[in-house]
Subunit: 150 residues, 4 copies
């Protein structure tokens, strides 16, 4: 279903990994990159009571945060080396309670663009019993020139 | 702008406070309820490096999580005592980087309904220099009968 | 990709066709049903200057209207005989100008539910040169008991 | 609530009126501009059986089309003279059936930007009995350089 995308930066995976490593929130979530391909990124978060809503399930805020990150990084894999990615907007439908041992978010590029990249993604709660589709996202990302910190 | 809503449960504030206290994620965020009125809830989160994206600002996941909670609890204030609230879907526009000493989310009911309650809200980054509008949300909430834990 | 859905009403196609035939707007658009299957509906609209935006392309309002209808009817195919469908909310990304001889909307059920059905869909502009993906939708539908007109 | 915006083109109203006059769909709807101010536009559509859904109410496609146009033109009022406006994405909650003698859409700019303008709006069904809030929209608009047709 995903068209084959040609990355403009051969080091796209390094860039994604370095950016994610700087995210305090994803460290708080113990989030891990599971896959980084051109136009598609997967992120996983293990269950923790620190990440729950009032019934002990994963909080929708966790689901949406990693869906947003998976989509944003999927967009970043196709950007030029000197760009960073910002979320313009996103919309999410929550399909089922996120009950499981871990939460898996997949994000992919639907339409790359010069200024705007449209992404979509899905989140799954993973447990012994298998995988349950818990959320779907549609998001608009933009690239801006990386600030030179030097 | 907000119509005056009549709560169906006089203890609506207790219910919101007890539910929020059970949320592991909001404790992780050190989130605090600032205001609970019929149809409107305010939540605040102090800045922490544990809540950042790659540039050191508040992560959009934090902004969206507390906007979602503010909207959900705004809906809950108008529900019957035996109901709890679930997010059906939400959509957010991110308007500016969330740079500040704290993040403030306001959620309010736009249209209460028997099955579905539509809410909207706004998030602000607060610093010495004042308050900056960083995000706006539109969300659909539903109420379901509270599980009897006894 | 679409799970096989079992319709609860064997006459689901008749119901969709009769409902669509009562829609004044879809007649104004000269819209035609191209396919009605359990959980998936396709609608097509031929180009007309009466349906354009300021540059002579299909107006986004046409694209969104038939995406909404395709999704709504996809949801209706899985509902009980005495139900009709209402759109709770929808969100659309417009991916490219809708230039073509006709506009094709596909809607499908992502998750059927007792009260709420989540659908997604895509629109394509069709011309001699082929098919171009012009929009994608994510929508929430609800079913309500049919009014007895008798 | 709306901040006072300073238009960059003193002829913003002429531009909006000329653009709307070129829209085939809005002519089909017999839509009329009710108000054009910097950052805010109102559009009205009289009831017609040609614009209905299956129950004889205004079709959601009409509501969304004029909300989209009101928001897009609100964004256009703040753009430079040589720009035209495109909808990037939109999301709408439908709050009540659109039953009335006319449908009124108000769109306003929430945050103008160099590349992207975020708008919101509301639609009302107008009848003898008064005005009913039937839909709310949140939308992202972009400006692109006007094509020279000469």
């Amino acid at each position: 279903m995903i068209p084959a995308f040609e990355p403009r930066d051969p080091d796209f995976e390094v860039r994604v990994r370095e950016s994610l490593a700087r995210q305090g929130l994803l460290a708080t979530f113990a989030a891990e990159l599971r896959s980084v391909r051109p136009g598609a990124v997967d992120i996983e978060v293990p269950y923790s009571p620190a990440l729950t809503q009032q019934d002990g399930f994963f909080h929708a805020g966790v689901t949406i945060a990693i869906l947003d990150s998976a989509c944003g990084y999927a967009a970043l894999t196709l950007m030029k080396p000197d760009m960073r990615v910002l979320t313009v907007e996103l919309k999410v439908n929550l399909l089922a309670p996120a009950v499981g041992d871990s939460l898996h978010a997949h994000g992919e590029v639907l339409r790359p663009g010069r200024n705007l990249t449209v992404c979509r993604g899905d989140a799954y709660a993973i447990s012994d019993g298998g995988s349950k589709h818990v959320a779907t996202i549609l998001a608009t990302m933009t690239g801006i020139a990386e600030l030179n910190d030097g």
